[in-house]
């Protein structure tokens, strides 16, 4: 079975995000970029399935500028087999990404798509679900455990009330949550081998997808500076404040 893993190039999770002075977005010039951490978890899960003999090929896809090839190379160094870069310098919204993935799925026929539940740049948490709707596959979102059976996949989901396990018919879409696994580091020998793995490049036009944005960003602003806290004298004080001032009890 083939597994498709979409990977996004985002601002590294260690970087302090700064809003551009004109409010048009966040500063990306000279900022360290890395693979979205949820996507790393997706790549890791795919590799583990392959190591267990349950998958035969892992294809990593990235949609973005030329440098997104580096993100694909990271996936290849971790253990993916080949990559597809859908090159564009435009902003791509979740719906456009879902449409591109749909087109790639039509070409590649994977048995499973494993992707991050969200990307840490816009935190949209939409692409997996939109893709599921577009192609009519079953979806198991926010996975903390994935077990592949014969023609099925059991996905344990992290939901607000605890854990929920769903059994999906393949082909299916799984989106990863943080506790699913701990991604491996790409070793130096594998980083060097990844240079020789195939990486194809295509475009949204070639896939017949219109990328024009459906949304308009009006303004980007820093979150308000946190106010200093107060010390309360007793537990009773605390409860009273939570009840009367914060209104959360």
């Amino acid at each position: 079975m083939k597994i498709l893993v979409p990977v996004k190039r985002v601002v590294d999770y260690n970087v302090k995000i700064r809003v551009r002075p004109d409010g048009s977005g966040v500063e990306l010039a000279n900022v360290k970029m890395s693979m979205n951490p949820f996507d790393e978890i997706a790549v890791e899960e795919a590799i583990r399935l392959k190591e267990k003999g349950k998958a035969t090929e892992i294809v990593a896809v990235s949609i973005g500028p030329a440098q997104s090839a580096e993100t694909i190379r990271t996936a290849l160094a971790m253990g993916a087999d080949r990559g597809i870069l859908v090159r564009t310098d435009q902003t791509v919204e979740p719906l456009a990404v879902a449409k591109i993935l749909k087109a790639i799925i039509a070409n590649e026929n994977p048995g499973l798509v494993i992707m991050g539940k969200q990307a840490i740049d816009d935190d949209a948490n939409q692409t997996g679900q939109m893709l599921g709707a577009l192609i009519g596959w079953a979806q198991g979102t926010f996975a903390s455990k994935v077990e592949l059976g014969e023609g099925t996949v059991d996905v344990t989901r992290e939901v607000d009330g605890g854990l929920q396990t769903v059994s999906l018919k393949l082909p299916a879409i799984v989106t990863t949550d943080l506790r699913l696994n701990e991604p491996r580091y790409a070793s130096l020998p594998n980083i060097m081998k990844a240079k020789k793995k195939p990486l194809d490049e295509t475009s949204a036009e070639a896939l017949g997808v219109d990328l024009s944005p459906r949304l308009k960003v009006i303004k980007t602003a820093e979150p308000p500076v946190r106010q200093a806290g107060v010390k309360v004298g007793s537990i009773a004080d605390l409860v009273a404040k939570l009840k009367n001032e914060a209104g959360v009890l």
Partner: protein, 384 residues
């Protein structure tokens, strides 16, 4: 050999993460237990860290000098004990074989060293022989089919874990100097080879040194490095430049870590109603440390590049080892000063690093020996 910036960058950023997420959080544990946890050792193997300087044909990565120092800048940001474990395989424990080994010796040992299956040690120093290494007394007597080695080696890094010792011993009993010395490849566990107690050191806990004692230790003829007698010292000298640049780069890495720790503390710690980083006398210490660390980084990179181009960098590699090891000593001293009382307390990393970095001025040639090398070469060049 990487030779392409994207791939080198990819590795450096993976290593940086490995250092941040896996090694730095375990530093205190390593110091306390005087041992590198086995899970970390196997992760370091998987990362390919044992074989960085071993050629690709033998399962290593064949890093150029510039690539190797770039990696060492990152690796230096954590306890030197971690680096010490892989240091011999990448340096003095393998490079003799890389440069002068016979094809059989290379084919047998290098892949094992590159994968980290065995750890290599380099046994030159003796109880009565340090800086004047050419006067060593351990001897190898020719017998039928091989040699019998007798003598004691001291302060041998990784000896308690080594599967291979590159041992320097006198094969010409009439000589008193370097010309009569040969190098032997002796497997760990060879009868007649004993390892002493682990030395109690000032710092770098988790990295181990011990005596290596040879009592009528028989080795076959094939153990003679390169198959040639009385050129062992020449081999040792050939690996020096690489080792000196590598140590220089590690010192730079540690210096940057110490500066990070100092800056963070200084911006956080308040006295007289403001962060101590606002006081100009504290700022002077931060600025001096940053400047010196940068100078060290620049000289190491420049010398490494020139070595890759095939230039003779013997003098400048000694300059790098001398400057960087002394520099990191000053940076560590200022780091303790900036931390005040906290800098003297073991809970803070700078206290440990202050002791750890002291070694860099002593091994792989003391600062005085580097000064001698540099000045002698200057005089020689001026005469030529």
């Amino acid at each position: 050999m990487i030779r392409d910036p994207d791939t080198l960058q990819a590795f450096v950023s993976q290593l940086r993460r490995f250092v941040e997420e896996r090694l730095i959080p375990r530093e205190a544990e390593v110091a306390e237990t005087d041992r590198i946890p086995p899970d970390i050792v196997s992760e370091m193997r998987e990362m390919g860290l044992f074989g960085m300087s071993i050629p690709e044909d033998f399962g290593g990565l064949g890093l150029t000098m510039e690539e190797e120092v770039t990696v060492a800048f990152e690796f230096g940001r954590t306890s030197p004990a971690f680096r010490s474990l892989v240091g011999t395989n990448n340096g003095i424990g393998s490079q003799g074989i890389v440069i002068d080994g016979t094809p059989e010796q290379k084919a047998y040992y290098l892949p094992r060293l590159a994968s980290g299956e065995i750890v290599g040690s380099f046994a030159l120093t003796e109880p009565d022989v340090g800086s004047d290494a050419g006067s060593l007394r351990t001897n190898a007597r020719r017998v039928d089919g091989g040699y019998v080695i007798n003598g004691t080696k001291r302060y041998i890094t990784n000896a308690p874990h080594a599967g291979l010792f590159t041992v320097f011993a006198r094969t010409d009993p009439d000589s008193k100097h370097a010309g009569g010395v040969s190098a032997f490849l002796v497997d760990g566990g060879t009868p007649g080879l004993k390892i002493g107690k682990i030395d109690k050191k000032m710092g770098q806990k988790g990295a181990h040194t011990a005596d290596v004692i040879f009592e009528d230790c028989f080795v076959p003829e094939s153990a003679l490095l390169g198959g040639r007698e009385n050129v062992g010292f020449k081999t040792a000298m050939k690996v020096l430049d690489r080792g000196r640049l590598h140590i220089g780069a590690v010192c730079v890495g540690v210096a940057y870590r110490l500066i990070e720790e100092s800056l963070r503390y200084a911006m956080d710690r308040k006295q007289f109603g403001q962060p101590i980083s606002e006081f100009q006398l504290v700022q002077a210490m931060l600025a001096d440390s940053r400047t010196e660390a940068y100078a060290g980084k620049a000289m190491v990179l420049e010398t490494a590049r020139r070595k890759d181009l095939g230039e003779n960098v013997a003098t400048d590699a000694a300059c790098c080892k001398l400057f960087c090891s002394e520099m990191v000593g000053r940076v560590a001293d200022r780091a303790v000063q900036i931390h005040g009382g906290a800098g003297y307390i073991a809970e803070y990393a700078v206290e440990r690093f202050y002791r750890d970095v002291r070694l860099f001025r002593i091994y792989e040639g003391t600062s005085q020996i580097q000064q001698l090398v540099i000045a002698r070469n200057m005089v020689k060049e001026a005469r030529a």
